[in-house]
């Protein structure tokens, strides 16, 4: 049977004393937390341990003795340490002896059944790192998790200062002092009223937005990504300004990451704004924007002219082609006049919109996305008309095809049944089928062209949305923590074999295995609206083929809600 001793590395140079720690019966392992030095009064030690136990809820005990022999063996000391066993009763009783200039320690286990030979495994651990680290994916009965938990929960034990003249003297990991953290403490104190104030303001804003978000207006808000972005900004601010301290690790990490990504976002936004307002970039932008919109309209007109003729040598149905072409032309005409009307005000509008960048880069980007959506509204309209027409035809053709085969769609049972039709029904069906079939290419061509245009716009918007999403969901704090203090986020532990000597106990060094970056991203990703298309590429293609409307990704989510 094996006994494992987890021993803190910081305690190895300390003087003779008692080992304080926790005995884990389930795993047969001892976690040494500190060493009590002479002189002490046994009653005081017991009382102190009881006090700690009340505070942490973990059973601490005196596990054994520690002797560090500097020069030569002191027989008297040895026997004294042996006698302590009868005062602090613990089974098993550990006796660890370190002799000068020998790295192999002598560990003996006393107080267990004599016949069972005990093998001892000595595991060194870094108390500070283990205390601060957060173990991920730990299961219930895990020994390592219990060790981590034990060390972390005895934080109060480590708060005891070296120079403190308490009832007993302990050796364990010491923090470097409290002086430096005074500023931190002051900040902590100051942050509470600040947060309270901010959250009050936020709740005011929330009540206003809730009033605005009622039924008729909410339809408009849902369509604009800017509004959604602002709403999210408010949410995250509320999360940060919550006056209650974060309860657990996850919540704390989320708060910290939100704060850091918010700060980064705002800094980037301000950089963008300073670039925009220095040297009249706004005016240049406005001047460039109008010709672009004009140009798009003109190009579209050209495209329609081309479609109305014999596009790519295809011979279309002349009449239908003309009708559709004229209809779309009229639309473009309307659009151009609308843009002409708008053009004098564009620069002013842009100037005000540019101010939104001070709220953060993501807000500015979503404004841009909305502007693109507004400027390409005509393309959207064309696409919807084309898709509806095409969809109608496809559905008509499908049901008439079923009619030919003597089948019909059974709505109640959601399946295709066989059905016998009359002669006139069949005749009419055939007639309609022929008409639809011959008109299909014309409609399909218009549909194809406008779908491609629409997809282009959706692609651009999608890229912008993805950038925003990245900005919003990147857990920067966790990443920085992983980079600079890799032990704080532990995926597990790893052991290193230390030099062995035959006949002595097995020596291991326990190190912390940090989370991989991929895992960090996965674990601490901030929640953000899932903007990726819900359906797969195959489903998307199918939708395109049968002429169902593909919405911009954001709206699709709304529809599902």
């Amino acid at each position: 049977m094996t006994v494992k001793i987890f021993f803190p590395t910081c305690c190895s140079p300390s003087e003779n004393g008692l080992l304080i720690g926790r005995w884990l019966e389930e795993h047969r392992s001892a976690v040494v937390l500190a060493i009590v030095h002479f002189p002490f009064i046994p009653g005081n030690v017991k009382r102190y341990l009881a006090g700690l136990e009340r505070e942490t809820g973990l059973r601490l005990a005196v596990l054994g003795t520690w002797s560090n022999i500097k020069a030569q063996k002191d027989e008297q000391m040895e026997s004294f340490l042996g006698d302590l066993k009868s005062i602090f009763i613990h089974r098993p009783w550990l006796r660890i002896t370190r002799e000068a200039s020998i790295i192999f320690w002598d560990c003996r286990i006393e107080g267990v059944d004599e016949e069972a030979e005990e093998e001892v495994v000595l595991v060194y651990y870094d108390q500070r790192k283990v205390m601060l680290s957060e173990l991920h994916d730990a299961t219930e009965h895990s020994e390592i998790a219990t060790v981590f938990d034990t060390v972390a929960r005895n934080r109060t034990l480590f708060a005891l200062d070296r120079y403190d003249e308490g009832p007993i003297k302990l050796t364990h990991w010491q923090s470097d002092g409290v002086e430096a953290s005074i500023i931190v403490e002051l900040c902590k104190q100051a942050s509470v009223p600040l947060c309270a104030l901010l959250s009050f303001i936020l709740s005011l804003i929330f009540s206003v937005t809730r009033a605005l978000g009622r039924k008729p207006l909410s339809f408009l808000w849902n369509k604009l990504s800017t509004c959604e972005q602002l709403g999210k900004r408010l949410d995250s601010l509320q999360l940060i300004c919550g006056t209650k301290a974060a309860k657990d690790h996850t919540l704390f990490m989320r708060k910290a990451s939100t704060l850091v990504s918010l700060l980064l976002d705002v800094i980037l936004g301000i950089v963008l704004m300073s670039w925009l307002y220095r040297g009249d970039h706004i005016g240049q932008l406005a001047n460039a924007l109008m010709p672009v919109a004009d140009r798009v309209a003109v190009e579209l007109q050209g495209l329609l002219q081309w479609l109305m003729g014999a596009p790519a040598g295809l011979k279309m149905n002349k009449a239908l082609d003309e009708v559709l072409g004229r209809f779309f032309m009229y639309h473009i005409h309307l659009w151009i006049s609308y843009i002409r009307l708008m053009s004098p005000f564009i620069e002013v509008i842009l100037w005000y919109i540019g101010l939104s960048a001070c709220l953060g880069l993501s807000v500015a980007l979503s404004v841009l996305s909305d502007i693109i959506a507004l400027l390409t509204f005509h393309i959207y309209c064309f696409y919807v008309y084309g898709a509806r027409l095409y969809c109608l035809k496809i559905h008509g053709l499908a049901s008439l095809w079923r009619l030919f085969r003597g089948k019909k769609w059974n709505v109640l049972r959601q399946r295709v049944d066989s059905c016998s039709y009359d002669l006139d029904q069949l005749f009419l069906g055939t007639l309609l089928f022929t008409i639809l079939l011959f008109l299909l290419p014309t409609t399909a061509l218009y549909y194809l062209v406008f779908t491609l245009l629409r997809l282009l716009v959706v692609l651009v918007q999608g890229v912008i949305q993805m950038t925003i999403n990245l900005l919003n969901s990147l857990p920067l704090y966790a990443l920085v923590l992983r980079l600079c203090r890799s032990y704080r986020l532990a995926a597990g532990v790893k052991f290193r074999m230390l030099q062995q000597e035959h006949g002595k106990c097995l020596r291991l060094l326990m190190q912390i295995n940090p989370l991989t970056y991929g895992k960090v991203l996965q674990q601490y990703r901030l929640p953000s609206s899932n903007l990726y298309p819900k359906d797969s590429w195959g489903a998307l293609c199918k939708k395109l083929f049968i002429g169902e409307l593909i919405y911009p990704w954001r709206q699709e989510r709304d529809k599902q809600d």
């Binding site: 295709v416 049944d417 066989s418």
Partner: protein, 484 residues
């Protein structure tokens, strides 16, 4: 014992027109003497295996189990079924390789004649296979395996489970491929004489290398239900996949007609398939929900429970090489009404089956006759039928016969490369022959390449689970546990 005739139950029925093909292969005493007490390492290859259900699947499984019982080493190679991929073990250490090959159509894999070669060769080498036994002519993988086995100069056996036509384009093509595939196969097994006749004609084979070994059923699985209460209704059971080949369209005509005539008639239909909708529509149109019961797909162990609920078993197959379903039904003590197609007339003696033409009218007539028999009360009891049918077809018998085929095959020499090319060109026509001869050469070069990259000596020999010295056949618990 001067000669062993591989013979079918049908030998007892005198069917004159079959004489020209019923030259059963004779394995002389002498040659079998050499092969006696020899154990083989057999690799069964087919696209069709569990979890897919059907006649071929259970044939392979049961035959393998009986061969393992007789001390041979058997492995099965098939393609991956969804999540079931990799290497698995079934009862008694039957090892199954589910290879990651793309399924093309109807559970059959796509074939290029070459892409499965490296993997199959690796398996043949590591398992030290001596005989490759392919099943079903629908399975592309089976043909691929035959092709590769011949390149590797292993003995090959092929079992044909189905009948084909000769007229339409697809069967002409399939028959050509079958000719190519079987022309240099060492031995061929058919499940019935009709099937043998069909295969010999299709693949232009020498009837001497074709044996007939019927399928079998496990009679202990199909017993009549002694506690069945006497009811005053008549139940017709249909258990088959609901596909065109099984004549489900005929059933759609039979159900309304029979139900009109006999108000105490009930149908129980077990199985699943694309033609299910026909039955459902008939049931709805004639309001027969209380009389026509659709059981859906049945597990193997549920089949018996469904069968014993009925009095008459109806089989409407349009083509069938050997119908196991009717043997199962007869074994459960049911009267069997079936179409007279393919190998069905050979399967059961005429006292136990009513044969009809594959038409609604004829089948209805057959059913009426069965109902009349039943009402007259001069039918033998289900137990009597069971006792009579029980010894007809058993897997042990099948395994014994197959073993003889293996013994014979292992004494033959596999055609060397030049003879194989010769055979292909002379036997399959010049154009096809040359094309496939080219493939043979390519695959031979490919084999050279494979032997160069991974020589046989590098390949680990697999731990035998079955066969002589197999880890599973030993008495003490196996030391090495192989999971997944």
């Amino acid at each position: 014992m001067d000669s062993h005739h591989i013979q079918s139950m049908v030998d007892r029925s005198e069917e004159g027109h079959r004489t020209c093909f019923s030259t059963t292969t004779c394995f002389t005493d002498e040659c079998l003497h050499h092969a006696a007490n020899r154990t083989h390492s057999i690799c069964m290859v087919s696209d069709f295996f569990y979890p897919n259900m059907g006649g071929v699947e259970s044939h392979i499984y049961q035959l393998s189990q009986c061969l393992i019982e007789r001390g041979h080493k058997v492995i099965i190679v098939t393609h991956a079924y969804g999540d079931r991929k990799g290497i698995r073990y079934l009862t008694n250490g039957l090892k199954v390789y589910y290879l990651p090959l793309k399924v093309m159509y109807n559970q059959s894999t796509a074939t290029t004649l070459l892409h499965s070669f490296p993997l199959l060769r690796y398996i043949f080498v590591r398992e030290r296979v001596t005989i490759v036994h392919s099943h079903s002519s629908f399975s592309a993988m089976a043909h691929d395996a035959l092709f590769h086995a011949k390149t590797l100069r292993l003995h090959t056996v092929f079992t044909d489970h189905s009948l084909f036509g000769f007229a339409d384009v697809s069967s002409v093509l399939t028959n050509k491929l079958l000719t190519v595939s079987l022309c240099d196969t060492t031995h061929i097994i058919c499940v019935s004489y009709t099937s043998k006749e069909n295969t010999v004609l299709r693949a232009a084979l020498d009837p001497k290398i074709v044996s007939v070994i019927p399928n079998a059923v496990d009679p202990t699985d199909f017993t009549p239900d002694p506690h069945r209460a006497k009811e005053n209704k008549i139940t017709i059971v249909v258990v088959s996949r609901l596909v065109y080949r099984k004549g489900i369209d005929l059933l759609g005509g039979i159900i309304p007609e029979m139900c009109q005539k006999y108000p105490d008639l009930h149908f129980i239909i077990g199985g699943e398939g694309p033609k299910r909708i026909i039955i459902e529509e008939v049931r709805e149109r004639y309001q027969l929900h209380d009389r026509v019961q659709l059981k859906g797909a049945l597990e193997h162990q549920e089949v018996r429970d469904v069968l014993v609920q009925g009095d008459i078993f109806l089989n409407m197959s349009l083509t069938e090489a050997f119908c196991m379903a009717i043997v199962e039904a007869a074994s459960c003590g049911l009267q069997v009404v079936s179409t007279r197609v393919g190998g069905i007339p050979e399967v059961l003696p005429e006292d136990y089956i009513i044969l009809c033409e594959p038409s609604v009218k004829s089948l209805c007539g057959g059913l009426e006759k069965a109902i009349k028999n039943m009402k007259s009360g001069k039918l033998p009891s289900p137990d009597a039928i069971h006792r009579a049918v029980r010894p007809f077809y058993t897997w042990r018998d099948v395994a014994e016969r197959s073993e003889k085929v293996y013994d014979w095959v292992s004494l033959q020499t596999v055609l060397p490369m030049n003879k194989r090319l010769d055979r292909l060109i002379t036997h399959c026509g010049v154009v096809t022959g040359c094309i496939f001869a080219f493939f043979v050469v390519v695959s031979y070069i490919f084999l050279m390449f494979l032997r160069w990259t991974t020589p046989d000596s590098v390949i680990d020999i697999a731990v035998n689970a079955t066969g002589p010295g197999g880890a599973w056949s030993r008495q003490y618990p196996p030391k090495k546990r192989l999971k997944n």
